[in-house]
């Protein structure tokens, strides 16, 4: 077997030297370009990345070349008969050849990558070798085994290469299907299957099929080899996949049964579903930012899942192992997922799931979102009717300065995409924090008109614009005139916190008066701008005129100041908001407007309500009243119940009927 191994290695060792030669060539090119002997318009980081990816591509090609001829060359030239007449079992011959091929690939890859990594430090950084090296190894293993498989079945090297490419493509599609669709259908967990795990599960059946074809395929010239290879390949992959899916399903269930904490509870706008992060038992080790392991500080958990819970059925509609950001559609049927397992800090992937059938409505971010001019996706939300998806992006470039932040609005299927720039730093060299205050055209907030008919944006300087997304038109609804004495010279107005009324008649704006050069707020007022563009009017003034919340019927607007606690209430037809009599020392934790227009106030100690008559008081039910001591208010669900999550102790989601005082366990 050793003799055979040596023979195989010697037969193809030129490939290794070719790898070394290419490596030296890349290193030399890099040295010339990076020392600026050539004035090439190439950024150093781009050059690093280019060299790094070149190394990976050459490694892949070398893998295919090393394994393509292992068996096909023997069959094609006729030397296989000689080989098979040796006093070695076929499995040992196969093993010797496979090991020799693997040794070739490994030594070639080492000779290729290590010298270049030493010469080009950036290569290591750009490739994130520490992070991605296992993935590279796994994909090389897959390429090697697939080519080995094809080499056992075909007699010409070129046929082997073409067949390998086709089979790799088919397997790539299979992996995508298994991870993205089948895995979710069977396990109920999005992204539950690690791509690397699936690839590793495919490698053994492929190798086994190759071994069987060689061991039972006689001289590899008849159709007999196919009879062993294909059923083994297809059946093996199918069986391993099912076992893997079963194992994952069981493992995740096991992990889910040991939830220790839940956090980040978010309710769908209409209260039909809720998302939260469930955390399993603390991990003994955690990974640092420089990819090292250290003893856990208690912030890491063995399992961390984002759970979507259907509040009507009480079942987990979907579970996502890791994501950057999610948003439930208003009716709780669709889930937008931003970022994936491999996105890191620059999320580019976007998926939209239909939770009813666990089908993907949107399989990936549209091509327009992949353009370099649009930065990584940072935040996602839905329009009130679920007609539009809103994504916030940032393309600030620390290398060159400048860049912009924007929102991208599109249909959930990725069509009718439009970009609205929020902030722009056009001048290179100006850091974002330095740029604050230079322009007053920056958009501070935005909100939706009823029926998702339009999107309102508000600039820092107070320009209110209505974007009709369906036809792409934008019109200025209102903008402040030149300073007219309402504030003194040297002071600055800051418009923010846009809130469109549910009927679309008014847009509430918060206006802060800042002393020039200071960030301290001197004065605040709340303006109501009629949607028809007529003259706005002030409904409240003073530093307490803070957060605004419309009642569902749009007839009433609550203004809530937190320090000191203060509630003001404005009703349609009134000239100004009236103050609700409430203690000033309350510390408000949460608040929510009930379907009937009442305002629910959740403090650290008790729950209060502002009723339809504008009267402030504690909730009548003593059980409900004291709930804030143990629970945080998440929101009001579709049945009008207050959804609560435990502050401490075991993970718990409860729903409280505010009129009857009945409390129901929701999760787990």
């Amino acid at each position: 077997m050793r003799a055979l191994f040596t023979k195989e290695y010697r037969q193809s060792h030129l490939l290794v030297w070719m790898g070394l030669l290419l490596s030296a060539l890349i290193a030399a090119l890099y040295a010339v370009w990076s020392r600026k002997y050539v004035r090439a318009p190439v950024d150093q980081r781009d050059l690093d990345a280019l060299c790094g990816y070149l190394l990976v591509v050459i490694t892949g090609v070398m893998t295919l070349a090393a394994s393509a001829g292992l068996f096909s060359s023997e069959t094609g030239r006729g030397t296989l008969v000689y080989l098979l007449a040796l006093p070695l079992s076929r499995s040992r011959i196969w093993l010797a050849k496979a090991l020799a091929g693997l040794a070739l690939v490994a030594s070639g890859a080492l000779l290729l990558i290590v010298p270049d990594a030493l010469v080009i430090p950036g290569t290591v950084r750009e490739l994130h070798l520490g992070l991605y090296l296992p993935d590279i190894v796994i994909w090389v293993l897959l390429g090697f085994s697939v080519t080995l498989f094809c080499s056992t079945l075909l007699q010409r090297t070129i046929s082997v290469l073409l067949a390998s490419a086709a089979l790799l493509f088919a397997l790539f599609l299979y992996v995508a299907w298994m991870v993205g669709i089948l895995g979710v259908q069977i396990t109920g967990y999005d992204d539950a299957l690690d791509v690397a795990l699936v690839v590793l599960a495919i490698v053994p059946p492929v190798l086994l099929a190759s071994l069987l074809a060689f061991a039972r395929g006689e001289l590899l010239q008849s159709n007999r080899k196919w009879a062993f290879a294909l059923p083994t390949l297809v059946g093996g992959i199918a069986v391993v996949s099912l076992v893997l899916l079963g194992a994952v399903r069981y493992t995740y269930r096991y992990q889910r049964a040991r939830v220790e904490r839940i956090e980040g509870v978010e309710l769908a706008p209409r209260g039909a579903a809720v998302t939260f992060t469930s955390l399993g038992s603390p991990a003994p080790l955690e990974r640092t930012s420089d990819h090292r392991w250290r003893r856990s500080t208690g912030a890491s958990y063995r399992s961390r899942h984002l759970v979507v819970l259907d509040l009507k059925t009480g079942r987990e509609a979907m579970v996502l192992p890791t994501t950057k950001m999610t948003a439930l559609s208003p009716d709780g049927r669709y889930l937008a997922v931003l970022g994936g397992r491999f996105d890191g800090h620059s999320a580019r992937s976007l998926r939209v799931w239909d939770l009813r059938g666990r089908r993907r409505v949107l399989r990936g971010a549209p091509r327009k979102l992949q353009q370099p001019s649009i930065g990584p996706l940072e935040w996602v939300s839905w329009s009130p009717e679920g007609e539009w998806l809103v994504l916030q992006t940032s393309s600030l470039d620390p290398r060159h300065g400048g860049g912009h932040e924007s929102i991208v609005v599109m249909r959930p299927d990725g069509s009718q995409l439009a970009e609205i720039v929020l902030w722009e730093y056009p001048e290179p060299g100006i850091a974002p924090e330095e740029a604050v205050g230079i322009e007053d055209t920056r958009i501070t907030s935005w909100g939706w008109a009823p029926g998702d008919s339009a999107l309102y944006t508000l600039t820092l300087g107070g320009r209110l614009v209505r974007h009709k997304l369906a036809d792409g038109k934008a019109e200025t609804v209102w903008e402040p005139r030149a300073p007219s004495g309402t504030y003194q010279e040297g002071q600055q107005l800051w418009f923010s916190r846009l809130q469109v009324s549910p009927r679309g008649e008014f847009v509430a704006l918060s206006v802060s008066l800042l002393a020039s050069g200071e960030s301290r707020e001197a004065h605040r007022l709340v303006l109501l701008v009629p949607a028809d563009g007529s003259r706005p009017f002030t409904i409240a003034q003073g530093t307490g005129a803070g957060l605004t919340a419309w009642s569902p019927d749009g007839r009433c607007l609550y203004l809530i100041g937190t320090r000191p606690f203060q509630i003001m209430r404005w009703r349609v037809g009134e000239a100004e908001a009236t103050r609700v009599a409430a203690p000033a020392n309350l510390e408000v934790r949460d608040r929510s407007v009930l379907p009937g227009g009442e305002l629910l106030v959740w403090t650290a100690a008790a729950a209060y309500m502002v009723d339809g008559q504008g009267r402030f008081g504690p909730l009548p039910s003593p059980e409900i009243r004291s709930l804030p001591q143990h629970y945080r208010l998440v929101g009001i669900d579709s049945e009008g119940r207050a959804l609560l999550s435990g502050r401490a102790g075991p993970p718990l989601l409860q729903a409280a009927d505010l009129t009857t005082g009945r409390i129901t366990k929701v999760y787990p």
């Binding site: 050793r2 030239r77 007449a85």
Partner: protein, 304 residues
């Protein structure tokens, strides 16, 4: 013949390639220490038979033992004790002859380099020569030299003498086959060079259309297959039983029989008839035996 005394023993060995029957219930027995010539026309199944013995291909049915090992179950043990050379067998072109020998040496538990180098020097193949620079005959000679490096108890030469010039062939016959025979080892030669076969073989087998229709010692073959020349002034005599071939002339008829015995001559003898018994060379025997088989659509086996 006892299996223990057979280097090769097959029992109804059958191999089918799709619809084609390459070996049809072949039951062959190659005695230990013999030089067995397996003859047959092109496509008779000789190479398939050899490949079955090495388990390079599996029999469809039947069984075979080589040196006491079942060829399917103990194929590695068989190959360890058997040397194999095939005609026009491609080799690894990039190797030198020495590297080739060294590679083969690493694959066998025992190896005698002197045997290999001795034969190579006698047939004029330099060890440092690359295989790609060797002629077709030299490659066969190199293969042959390397095939006996592990001192096999059985040597399978599958048309290995084909393509060799007369001098090389004589060297092979003298230095390899005669030496092996002298040491009591067994050689199975397949091919169509009947003159060489007749010179060196002591056992022969005829394979036609996958069927082994004759197997015996060469001596027995020659003793049983004879040509009878009958001169008859009047009517032609009746065809004796077992006649393979009948040639009639005006006053003379020749019969080739496969079951010659003095009694047969007696049965033909009659007043006025003169019977002459003629010995046949192996080539004539092969042609006379094979022709009826090739002409017939089906074939009945003729066994010794």
């Amino acid at each position: 013949m006892s299996k223990n005394r057979c280097a090769i023993a097959t029992h109804e060995l059958t191999r089918r390639f799709g619809r084609k029957l390459a070996l049809d219930r072949v039951s062959a027995h190659v005695p230990v220490g013999s030089i067995y010539g397996l003859m047959g026309p092109n496509g008779a199944g000789k190479t398939t038979f050899v490949r079955c013995l090495l388990n390079l291909i599996n029999p469809t049915s039947g069984s075979a033992t080589v040196l006491g090992h079942d060829v399917v179950r103990d194929s590695v043990a068989v190959r360890r004790r058997v040397g194999h050379v095939a005609a026009l067998q491609p080799l690894w072109e990039w190797m030198t002859v020495r590297e080739f020998a060294s590679f083969m040496a690493g694959c066998y538990p025992r190896w005698n380099p002197e045997t290999v180098s001795g034969i190579l020097s006698r047939v004029g193949v330099e060890p440092h020569q690359r295989i790609q620079t060797l002629s077709r005959g030299q490659r066969t000679l190199a293969s042959l030299a390397v095939a006996i490096g592990h001192e096999p108890e059985l040597l399978l030469l599958d048309e290995a003498l084909t393509g060799l010039d007369p001098i090389s062939r004589r060297e092979v016959l003298r230095n390899v086959i005669d030496v092996m025979h002298a040491e009591g080892r067994t050689v199975l030669i397949t091919g169509q060079d009947i003159a060489d076969m007749e010179r060196i073989c002591d056992h022969v087998g005829f394979l036609i259309r996958g069927q082994l229709f004759w197997e015996s010692t060469l001596e027995e073959l020659k003793a049983r297959v004879k040509r009878l020349r009958v001169e008859h002034p009047d009517g032609a005599p009746a065809v004796p039983p077992g006649a393979l071939r009948v040639e009639r002339a005006a006053r003379e008829t020749q019969f080739t029989v496969s079951n010659f015995s003095p009694a047969l001559v007696d049965s033909l003898s009659a007043p006025g008839l003169r019977v002459e018994v003629m010995d046949l060379g192996l080539e004539d025997i092969f042609v006379d035996l094979a022709q009826p088989q090739l002409n017939a659509s089906g074939s009945a086996q003729v066994r010794a």
